[in-house]
């Protein structure tokens, strides 16, 4: 608490505003504490890892084009399968969510930076360190027990690769915990004085829920991995039945984190969608509080559903009933969101640009993933499809069709703010079309493969599945190619793209009140909370882009009268 005397002292600094510092390109390669630099660092680093994870996926799909192990050895297949999952979850989707959170939260709430800037930079730098450590396991043979690393399998295969995997997840987990402390403090404590919690953008709500899950879930994963590490290195037998331990305990501890982790991976992108849709549909968000509170409800319920991953692990019947019920209840807050988004764009003046295409693409694919989620939540059905390609199809619809499509929607939406230049619209649409076609071609047929009984996580399969697998493989190639127009578009637009101006989408959230890219101190003039975050539908054509905030405010308040 600063005393009033201190406040007077600080207010005298007002007169001597520091000279505007200029952003240097070196900033992006150093220990920089600016949340915008850290946000970009997260996004670019995560995207580089996305390439590695994607390349591994293509190796897997190429191997799976035929039933025999003709491209890679089955053991190596297990290793790249493990690495693909780990990279995509821990080095791509989770850091990409942190990227948007870092870049956007202080701008959206009118703050100068995060609550703990140095801690923020520490959290970022742990991420590439953990990532490179994970990559280094390729020199000793990576882990091959899948991203779940269930013992006893993880205790007998690739010992040193497994240990590196554990260490790297501990580093990455610590990084996300530090990040979440920052996000919660910033969102709750650093909002500009006029902004109460119900007028902050929905992205902040979703990050609040995400950070809560990270804070409560990740430490339990750390505990599980520390015990697993003891089993692996010191020869204890916490999870090793040979020495009197119990592998089921690991599964409980692992999923206590890793089911919430699914929401950690999708909630930030729910937030992004809640920002993108109203802007490009020119309509207020439908059900602000419903969307905000449903994020919290999902976070809470997400903590009490974990054993639905263990229906076939000897879980007693009454416990299966409990977890089946809680899992299905999650469909309610999730459904509230989907209906709210649909109602938001319903009857809107929709501008179907790349951001919006990815946004509505997200709704359609996430819906499929959500519905198949309810299917696998029911015990009788899950026992049939457990560990088959149906599950693979389900979580790729949620994590790729959901998270990654929304992530691209976010990039198309905020790229002008991040760089000051627009992305090329034509190439953006080509990117979307290729992604959407490639994705569905890859993963839709997997539902059928799973119901027919094709097991996941193995390099070999029954010859009867070959033709459908070939379709999946071709789809995955289209998906791989779809990234190229995006990369070219980004690289070209960063240097040569059309200038964006401060508010190309005529959006109302605060990040659009500052210049693009934002000044180092975020806002050169104090941000003015002149409208709720989603009050579209005023005649925005009237608002001249170059007019000052006061003029815009005058127009809007005149409108209101």
């Amino acid at each position: 608490m600063s005393t009033s005397a201190e406040k007077i002292v600080t207010s005298t600094h007002d007169g001597q505003k520091a000279e505007h510092k200029q952003r240097k390109w070196q900033d992006y390669f150093t220990f920089n504490t600016d949340h915008k630099v850290i946000g970009i660092q997260y996004l670019v680093t995560a995207f580089l890892f996305y390439f590695v994870g994607g390349a591994l996926a293509e190796v897997m799909r190429t191997e799976l084009a035929t039933p025999e192990p003709d491209l890679v050895q089955p053991e190596f297949y297990n290793q790249i399968m493990t690495m693909h999952g780990t990279i995509m979850l821990f080095l791509w989707i989770i850091p990409a969510g942190a990227a948007f959170a870092n870049f956007l939260i202080p701008l959206m709430i009118g703050a100068e930076d995060m609550a703990f800037p140095r801690l923020n930079a520490v959290a970022y730098w742990m991420f590439p360190i953990g990532g490179i450590l994970l990559m280094s396991s390729f020199f000793v043979g990576p882990a091959q027990a899948g991203w779940t690393s269930y013992p006893p399998l993880s205790l007998v295969a690739s010992k040193w690769g497994q240990e590196i995997w554990i260490l790297s997840i501990l580093i990455l987990g610590t990084s996300t915990i530090l990040g979440s402390i920052n996000f919660i403090t910033t969102i709750l404590k650093m909002r500009m004085p006029d902004m109460d919690i119900h007028s902050m953008p929905l992205f902040c709500w979703s990050m609040l829920a995400t950070s809560g899950l990270i804070l409560l879930g990740t430490p339990v994963l750390a505990a599980a991995l520390i015990l697993l590490s003891f089993d692996l290195i010191a020869g204890t037998s916490f999870f090793n039945p040979a020495g009197g331990g119990d592998p089921i305990v690991y599964q409980h501890m692992f999923w206590f984190y890793s089911h919430p982790a699914v929401y950690i991976m999708v909630l930030p992108f729910f937030g992004i969608i809640s920002e993108v849709l109203p802007v490009h549909a020119r309509k207020p968000i439908f059900g602000y509080r419903a969307i905000a509170y449903s994020s919290l409800a999902i976070a809470f319920l997400g903590l009490i559903v974990w054993a639905h991953h263990m229906f076939t692990s000897g879980t007693p019947g009454w416990l299966r009933m409990f977890f089946m019920a809680t899992t299905m209840v999650i469909a309610v807050p999730t459904g509230i969101k989907v209906f709210s988004w649909t109602a938001t764009i319903w009857g809107g003046k929709i501008n179907l640009n790349s951001a919006m295409l990815f946004g509505v693409g997200f709704i359609s694919l996430f819906l499929i993933g959500g519905l198949s989620g309810i299917m696998v939540a029911s015990v009788p059905f899950d026992i049939h499809v457990h560990d088959t390609y149906f599950v693979v199809a389900h979580f790729h619809y949620v994590l790729f069709g959901g998270s990654v499509l929304a992530l691209f929607a976010g990039i198309y939406h905020w790229f002008p703010k991040m760089t000051g230049r627009m992305l090329n619209e034509t190439w953006g649409r080509i990117h979307f079309a290729l992604t959407y076609i490639g994705f569905n071609l890859t993963f839709l047929p997997m539902h059928q493969l799973g119901i027919q009984g094709m097991n996941r996580r193995v390099a070999l399969y029954d010859a009867q599945f070959q033709s459908v697998n070939m379709i999946c493989t071709i789809g995955s190639y289209i998906l791989a190619v779809s990234t190229l127009p995006f990369v070219v578009n980004v690289l070209w637009s960063v240097f040569k793209g059309e200038k964006a101006g401060r508010n190309p989408w005529r959006a109302l959230t605060l990040e659009w009140q500052t210049s693009s890219p934002p000044a180092i101190e975020n806002f050169e003039e104090e941000p003015v909370l002149w409208a709720g975050p989603y009050e579209y539908g005023v005649d925005t054509e009237m608002i001249d882009e170059d007019s000052s905030i006061e003029e815009m405010l005058a127009e809007v308040s005149a409108e209101a009268k």
Binding site: D14, E112, L215, P219, A234, T236, S237, G244, M253
Partner: protein, 204 residues
């Protein structure tokens, strides 16, 4: 707090200096420390849950042939650690009166009591018939007490760093002693965890 009402208008206007920044901005560090401790408590919750599952699922617990744990040293340790929390609080009370030497005295005693706890635990490890891999109970015993001991070590280091910083009389004052408070709340946390751990591992 009374006077701050007057300054509300200034707070709204001076966005650059109040919302976030370098000098005199509202201090959120304690809030961050509490969030961190919530996270850390979940790690222990994970360990405790695993321990309780083993305890309830295994037909015999502790497994047959496990030697009885000696209680004398851990009971002394518990008394030392619990009372050290009260000793430490005297240090915070002292700094609130601007009494730096009082802070140094009480924190010095606390650090010594923490060291006694660690030595006692070392003695217990050294003389125990249990080995890390003897059986599941022994592994749990070492994992839980070891992870807690790591926290005590960090706590002692935090107290020592407070002592180091308080060499200069000006570093901590009645109005500004975040480091003192952070070390203290961490120490209380470690203390509470020990009480739960002691009941779970030694008494149940």
């Amino acid at each position: 707090m009374q006077s701050s009402a007057l300054d509300e208008s200034k707070v709204t206007l001076n966005y650059h200096h109040e919302a976030a920044g370098h000098h005199g901005h509202p201090d959120h560090r304690m809030f961050g420390v509490i969030l961190f401790l919530i996270g850390d408590s979940m790690t222990f919750l994970g360990f405790f849950a695993a321990f309780l599952i083993y305890r309830t699922m295994m037909p015999v617990w502790p497994p047959e042939g496990t030697p009885e744990l000696e209680l004398l040293v851990p009971i002394i340790n518990t008394i030392v650690l619990v009372s050290s929390s009260f000793v430490m609080h005297q240090g915070q009370t002292a700094i609130k009166r601007n009494d730096v030497s009082g802070l140094r005295l009480w924190f010095g005693i606390t650090a010594a009591m923490g060291a006694v706890f660690l030595l006692g635990q070392g003695y217990e490890y050294f003389h125990s018939e249990l080995g890390l891999t003897t059986n599941l109970f022994a592994s749990c015993f070492y994992a839980l007490t070891g992870f807690h001991g790591l926290h005590v070590t960090v706590g002692v280091l935090l107290i020592l760093s407070v002592l180091w910083r308080s060499r200069s009389k000006e570093h901590y004052s009645s109005g500004s002693h975040f480091g003192v408070e952070a070390a203290e709340i961490y120490w209380h946390f470690v203390d509470v965890i020990w009480v739960i751990l002691f009941i779970l591992v030694y008494l149940l």
